[in-house]
């Protein structure tokens, strides 16, 4: 027993229960929550009348220590306790050791070696913070009760306190996750609203343009009229695809997209996408160069979708009128590649690399700004196929967007 034995009066059980109730109340009302580890350490130390308490929290990684004056030196040696925690499995279950039991622990040898003239430690109590799903959230460790060894009552009281703290930590984490989910939903709705307003603006604009011409008594030039009506048709198609894209993002984010893998020739598939794209989506020609057949395992529908979204994103970011080139490379069958090159793109390879870094980090299309839905869906499809998205700078200054696939593909099929 350390401290001043003459002045110490042990608490009655009722007194200690009162302390536990007060401690629970203090912990529950602690704000900001960053202070919780420190408050928990202070309350655990108070309830057990111990001299040293250290609280480790896993998420966020945080350590708080509170101790009596005589134990301040221990703060520089808490790493010695880590070995003990591992050795006795205190991360998963409460462990209470007496002085003799501590000295018998092989892990305690390090304490003996480093601190030969230390005061003997009369008792050690370790109580893990366990979540409702049995996840390890943290650990409370106490050294030296004023009565020497820790009692079963100490273990029960600190165990109760640890449960309260675990619930608060979990509630806090859930509240944070719920807030993130709501925020992500709001941002997504905002993005969808933005993306819907563009085609609606175009439809309204083309209609008003034609009305102005008629009001002025202009005789519509048949060719211009045809182009305007074609634009209206294309915008209507885009609106339909946009609605489908929104549904797709919801399904992708909910993990509800499954792949139907088939052995497909990549060149044939790219040519059919190019033909479809040119007939309805773009005024730019698309060329497909595949020197040899490349058969790989993909979901043909999703792969088409991926290609369309990538080309759409590249096309939307460029004023070029020359061809968009698609290359299919076998790479000796090791890792087939599909590459897209826009030699008139104003996006540098450095900008593309930044975009790819952003899409790889983001969990939502909202982080990608305008046209983000296309790039986000394309990336999700590549990831589902177990592929990679990369960028290469060509010697003529153009940028090559590369979709790499594993040799047999379909790793991510769900």
């Amino acid at each position: 027993m350390h401290g001043d034995p003459g002045s110490y009066q042990p608490d009655s059980t009722a007194g200690r229960l009162r302390k536990l109730a007060q401690a629970s109340s203090i912990i529950a009302s602690t704000r900001p929550l960053d202070n919780l580890p420190k408050v928990l350490a202070e309350q655990a130390k108070t309830i057990t009348n111990s001299h040293f308490c250290i609280v480790h929290l896993n998420t966020p990684d945080h350590v708080a220590i509170t101790c009596s004056e005589d134990y301040v030196w221990w703060q520089d040696h808490v790493d010695l306790l880590d070995a003990l925690v591992s050795a006795v499995g205190a991360a998963d279950r409460p462990v209470r050791l007496t002085e003799a039991e501590l000295e018998a622990q092989p892990a305690w040898i390090k304490v003996v070696e480093r601190l030969p003239s230390r005061r003997p430690v009369c008792g050690w109590l370790a109580i893990p913070l366990i979540g409702t799903d049995q996840a390890h959230l943290g650990l409370i460790q106490l050294l030296d009760s004023s009565e020497g060894e820790f009692s079963e009552e100490d273990e029960l009281l600190v165990g109760q306190l640890a449960q309260v703290a675990a619930l608060i930590f979990e509630n806090n984490a859930w509240r944070g996750k719920a807030h993130e989910v709501v925020q992500a939903r709001d941002e997504f709705l905002s993005l969808v609203s933005h993306e819907l307003k563009n085609p609606i603006t175009s439809l309204r604009g083309f209609a008003q343009l034609l009305l102005r011409q008629l009001d002025r008594g202009d005789v519509p030039d048949p060719e211009k009229l045809r182009r305007t009506l074609q634009s209206i048709e294309q915008v209507s198609e885009r609106l339909t695809r946009l609605i489908n894209d929104v549904r797709e993002v919801v399904r992708l984010d909910g993990g509800r997209v499954t792949l139907d893998l088939k052995a497909v020739d990549m060149g044939t598939l790219a040519e059919s996408v190019a033909a479809e794209f040119q007939s309805s989506l773009s005024r730019r020609p698309i060329t497909v160069d595949g020197s040899e057949p490349v058969r790989t395992l993909v979901d043909p529908l999703r792969w088409r979708q991926l290609l369309i979204h990538l080309i759409e994103y590249i096309s939307a970011s460029s004023t070029g009128s020359g061809p968009i080139e698609i290359e299919i490379l076998n790479q000796d069958g090791r890792s087939p590649q599909l590459a897209i090159i826009d030699r008139e793109s104003s996006i540098s390879s450095e900008d593309w690399q930044q975009l790819i870094d952003r899409v790889q980090r983001s969990r939502s299309p909202t982080a990608l700004g305008g046209a983000g839905l296309s790039l986000y869906i394309a990336y999700c499809m590549i990831r589902l196929h177990g592929g990679q998205l990369g960028v290469e700078a060509l010697t003529d200054g153009a940028t090559r967007i590369v979709v790499g696939l594993p040799s047999s593909s379909g790793k991510g099929a769900r």
């Binding site: 603006t201 102005r212 975009l355």
Partner: protein, 123 residues
């Protein structure tokens, strides 16, 4: 003879660039277009417009990025009208250097009136 006023239209949506360009050309303006901020910066290096119509949310370099880079160039600077699909946000946080904003979907007459006022071209 009055020289045609030059308008730089920056929007990632091709059909929006199409109909606004058509309407402005019919009103006698000279129009150049860019699908995003980086391409627009290249264009202003080759000739200062009298007015910039600028979408804010675009890939690669968005409207805010364009404005920052454009304001960093030697003046004089053309007035900028922000075209935005986010009405409330734009009203609350109009970026520095923006003379006016117009919320999508807008009325074509409203846009043409604004362009006329800011370029001061008599009809």
């Amino acid at each position: 003879m009055t020289l045609a006023r030059r308008i730089l239209l920056v929007d990632d949506d091709e059909s929006i660039r199409d109909f606004i360009s058509q309407a402005l050309v019919e009103e006698g303006y000279e129009v150049t277009t860019a699908p995003q901020g980086a391409a627009a910066l290249d264009l202003v290096d080759h000739g200062q417009p009298n007015l910039i119509l600028l979408d804010l949310r675009m890939p690669v370099l968005d409207g805010w990025g364009f404005l920052e880079a454009y304001r960093g160039k030697p003046g004089p600077h053309a007035p900028v009208v922000a075209l935005t699909a986010s009405h409330d946000k734009a009203a609350a946080k109009l970026p520095p250097g923006v003379s006016a904003f117009i919320a999508k979907p807008f009325d074509l007459v409203e846009l043409l009136d604004l362009v006329e006022r800011l370029t001061d071209v008599p009809k």
